[in-house]
């Protein structure tokens, strides 16, 4: 089962449009499809801007994991496969198989560990593709997927060059390699030396004090530091200084996934973070590494006019050209060349 997450740089960047396209296109290829989401998507009207939103049409036989209250306003017919015992703000998450297609709001697990439980449950049903819809700019639960499609657009920022720069930084973060090791399930920071390992009673490095605690245990022969939780931008700077002061060189900083590094800074500051990494002696590795599959672009943005949000658009051609020139990852405008993304997904599954 391929687990494909769709995440956005912001609200209204085209997650639902991308997911709708993938669901409808892949259904023509007779693939077994499942869908869930880490937030709430597919509603008729945007919760914040009150603008109409694209809705999610779920085809027959698709398996969906969504919260029970979402079925109240849905026109699908379904067979209940299992109750998960996992709860969201909209009730318990149910896994169902659609027997009559229709519109359905998807509100699935809101944290990483719950998403992993849903993946485990859905994997029993011989599924080819499980799509995990993102929510807003949320990323954290997506550490556990195989591939990520990033959506970005004018709703995030209507300056195309800035959108391209931040996506280039994200692409760079995804380019750091995976480190296969037996630390995938650890919950605390580990310092690995040639002689052995030291555990620190911390999950994340968030400020100077955390780094001080870690540096007390740092020795010159450190080869790797494993951080299962977060590392903040501030802590990252302090860590570099601490490593330097202890004359530690060629250290592998092993993070849970690229997402943990992206969360270290706001999107606009990611390039600065990458520059810091590239100027240091450390190398970044990941315990889990989803592949950055594609970047989809959306020229739409809501803007305030007379105290109401209205729809605006930047030039789709300029946007596409700028993104293509900056990225090596596939760039897709779903409404123009979405079929290229479908081909890539099918080809990579077969390979």
């Amino acid at each position: 089962m391929q687990k494909i997450g769709i995440v956005g740089t912001a609200k209204n960047t085209g997650k639902t449009t991308t997911l709708s396209f993938l669901l409808s296109s892949l259904s023509h290829f007779k693939k077994n499809i499942a869908v869930t989401g880490i937030g709430y998507d597919g509603e008729e009207i945007d919760n914040i801007t009150l603008l109409p939103k694209p809705r999610l049409l779920i085809e027959k036989n698709v398996i969906a994991a969504t919260s029970e209250k979402c079925f109240a306003n849905s026109d699908v017919k379904f067979e209940l496969l299992c109750k998960t015992g996992l709860r969201t703000a909209l009730g318990e998450i149910l896994i169902v198989q659609i027997i009559k297609p229709g519109l359905l709001v998807i509100a699935g697990p809101n944290k990483k560990s719950d998403l992993q439980k849903i993946i485990d449950l859905i994997s029993k049903y011989e599924i080819d593709y499980l799509f995990i819809d993102g929510s807003l700019n949320r990323l954290s639960p997506m550490s556990v997927v195989d591939r990520i499609i990033f959506t970005t657009g004018a709703a995030r920022n209507n300056i195309v060059s800035q959108l391209a720069s931040e996506m280039k930084a994200i692409e760079k973060i995804f380019s750091f390699p995976q480190r296969k090791c037996n630390y995938e399930n650890v919950n605390s920071i580990r310092i690995i030396t040639k002689e052995g390992e030291t555990e620190i009673d911390l999950n994340s490095l968030l400020d100077k004090n955390d780094v001080l605690l870690l540096s007390e245990k740092l020795k010159r022969d450190v080869v790797a530091i494993i951080i299962p939780g977060l590392i903040s931008n501030e802590a990252f700077d302090h860590l570099l200084k601490a490593l330097k002061s202890k004359f530690c060189v060629n250290v592998e900083l092993i993070l849970n996934s690229p997402i943990n590094l992206i969360l270290a800074a706001d999107f606009l500051d990611l390039q600065k973070l990458i520059d810091n990494i590239e100027q240091s002696d450390i190398s970044i590795k990941y315990l889990q590494k989803p592949k950055l599959e594609a970047v989809t672009i959306n020229p739409f943005y809501p803007f305030l006019h007379n105290f109401h949000y209205e729809a605006g658009f930047i030039s789709k051609n300029d946007f596409y050209r700028e993104m293509k020139s900056q990225l090596t990852t596939m760039v897709v405008n779903i409404k123009e060349n979405g079929e290229e993304l479908i081909k890539q997904i099918i080809d990579s599954k077969m390979s």
Binding site: A89, K112, N256, L263
Partner: protein
């Protein structure tokens, strides 16, 4: 079980809500820690990850772009492993369960959530709070009154007037009274042959326009049946639009109930508006019939709509309103204007209305019904109101012309006493506004308080009875500007609240200027304004000036003089015809409809 709770105001300014919540959680014995509102998200995550918190409560106002900030905060907590041990909860005015889910929180509490709900969630208790449906009981503002008179002189005068009038009415009838008797049998019998016979008898004593409409469905211009599809779409609309988070207008139990008019001509529109206003807390409606209905002998049957002011008060129309409006909503049906007063009260009673509107004086002045006819019909109507246990409200007749207040109040009190004699509960409705006589004579040059207050104080000093100012309050103070109109209505409502009256009738903000059916937003304007006015005034009161006492003395004297004059006549109808309760100088003329149609019983 004691919970450890981190309270996070992720907002530089708006942290009052989270402070209130912290205080309540402390009172309930939980361990709470309130962070300062100037911390970065990373700093909050740091604190959250190092403490042993069961819940992290976040308060934040929303705007475009804030959702992404909150989503990132949720991600940081998730990535830092905080979510494995802590539930994260968002609170703020616009928060809904859907928005909480979208942002990735475990739970959300919004504007309509209660502290009880939040505490129950924190403590892991089930709490059943329905935000749907009105869940209120029907107001009763007559049963607490004895109708005993404090002013014995006025009581004695009223006794004399009503005794003479009731004695005079004995042995008299009208076609309206006979039709009411027939209509009761027609509605209640299941014998088709008998029903047809009764209908024939009804038709004999009805005008040809009415007979033609009932027999051949050849309706007066603009009148037609409501269609099945209209009815079906109304029912669907109501089913799909159950009131959510209903509002209560009154800030305390002593604040007056609020009534509005329904009379767009179309019962479908009336009910749709009625349902919306119920959600905004309206207590009841006055169904206002079209003026042409008053001019014909007989009433048209059926579920009917027409393209003009006033909704036809057929049995079917009233019944539909009763069925589809909430059972707690009070319905009063206007009966006193025209040639069908007893039958309208009968239909209101049979269809389940709660009150009816009768004023023997008002209905027979100013292009109304002949005073003799309305006195006979009105007395029968009041008997029917008593039979159906429907209190009747008595609007003041000074709203349409220049009739002075004391004459109007005399008329109201005569109706109250007739009601008392016939075991019906009357509710006088003094005008509570810039009435024509007041405008002409300048009684409100100083303010709008003294003269209105004097009327209420006078009635309160006369008898132990409910008082319901109308109709509508603030009449003639409103302009075409909706904000001004809502303000003016709300000031009058606040004054009414401080004077301890039982109900008020309020207009929509476009009522005087709508040039057609009024719109729903303007209905809500005035309700919302009154809700705030009631909240503002609470249990405080306004001070009147010495002018109020002067008005009170003057009104009492002139009221007594008027009652003495009426008491000197043979009966009420004679008094009205002679202009005692409004004459040509006042702009009030005895009505002509139904002149010389009262019959002597065999």
């Amino acid at each position: 079980m004691v919970r450890n709770i981190l309270c996070v105001p992720l907002d530089p300014v708006h942290d009052v809500g989270i402070k209130i919540i912290k205080s309540e959680l402390d009172k309930n014995g939980h361990n709470t820690e309130l962070l300062s509102p100037d911390l970065s998200m990373e700093a909050v995550v740091n604190i959250a990850s190092k403490g042993n918190y069961d819940f992290i409560l976040v308060s934040r106002t929303l705007g475009y772009g804030v959702a992404e900030i909150l989503a990132r905060f949720v991600d940081l907590l998730d990535a830092a492993g905080v979510r494995e041990n802590s539930k994260i909860v968002i609170g703020g005015k616009p928060i809904t369960p859907e928005l909480a889910a979208e942002l990735g929180f475990d739970k959300g509490f919004g504007e309509h959530s209660t502290l009880d709900e939040l505490i129950a969630y924190i403590e892991g208790r089930e709490i059943k709070i329905s935000n749907r449906g009105l869940h209120r009981t029907k107001k009763d503002f007559t049963s607490k009154y004895s109708y005993d008179f404090y002013d014995k002189e006025i009581e004695s005068l009223l006794e004399e007037i009503t005794d003479k009038t009731l004695k005079w009415s004995e042995g008299k009838t009208s076609n309206a009274i006979e039709r009411a008797k027939l209509k009761e049998e027609i509605i209640q019998t299941e014998n088709i042959a008998l029903k047809e016979k009764l209908v024939d008898k009804y038709n004999v004593i009805s005008d040809s326009v009415i007979v033609e409409a009932n027999k051949n469905k050849n309706y007066p211009k603009g009148v037609r049946n409501v269609t099945e599809s209209e009815l079906e779409s109304l029912r669907k609309y109501i089913k799909d639009s159950e009131p959510v988070n209903p509002v209560t207008i009154q800030h305390n139990n002593n604040h007056p109930a609020i009534f509005k008019f329904l009379g767009s001509g179309c019962p479908i529109l009336d009910i749709a508006h009625g349902k919306i206003c119920e959600r905004w807390g309206i207590d009841g409606y006055l169904i206002i019939n079209p003026s042409w209905e008053a001019r014909y002998e007989g009433l048209i049957d059926g579920l009917l709509t027409h393209e003009n002011d006033g909704t036809i008060t057929s049995f079917e129309n009233i019944k539909l309103m009763r069925e589809l409006l909430d059972p707690s909503t009070l319905l009063t049906v206007r009966a006193h204007r025209g040639l069908n007063t007893p039958e309208t009260v009968l239909l209101a009673g049979l269809a389940g209305a709660d009150l009816t509107k009768i004023n023997l004086v008002y209905g027979s002045l100013g292009a109304g019904t002949d005073p003799t006819r309305l006195a006979i019909d009105g007395i029968e109507a009041i008997k029917l109101a008593a039979k159906f246990n429907m209190p009747f409200d008595i609007p003041g007749n000074d709203e349409l012309s220049g009739v002075p207040t004391w004459k109007t109040l005399a008329g109201l009190l005569i109706n109250v006493m007739i009601g008392k004699k016939l075991s019906a509960k009357a509710i006088p409705k003094p005008l509570f506004c810039y009435g024509p006589h007041i405008v002409i004579n300048g009684m409100m040059k100083q303010n709008f308080i003294d003269y209105n207050a004097a009327k209420i104080k006078l009635l309160r000093s006369i008898a132990d009875m409910p008082i319901w100012p109308g109709e509508p309050i603030a009449f003639m103070t409103q302009t075409e500007e909706r904000v001004q109109s809502a303000n003016s209505t709300s000031y009058h409502a606040a004054l009414a609240a401080t004077l301890g009256v039982d109900a008020i009738t309020v207009a929509s903000t476009d009522e005087a200027y709508s040039r057609g059916p009024i719109c729903i937003t303007s209905r809500i304007d005035s309700i919302r304004a009154i809700t705030d006015a009631y909240r503002f005034v609470g249990d405080a009161s306004f001070n009147t000036t010495s002018k109020c006492d002067d008005f009170l003395l003057d009104l009492r004297k002139k009221l007594k003089d008027t009652l003495k004059l009426v008491a000197s006549r043979n009966h009420l109808a004679e008094s009205i015809n002679l202009g005692d309760l409004g004459n040509k100088e006042d702009g009030a003329y005895p009505g002509k409809f139904g002149f010389e149609t009262v019959k002597i019983l065999d």
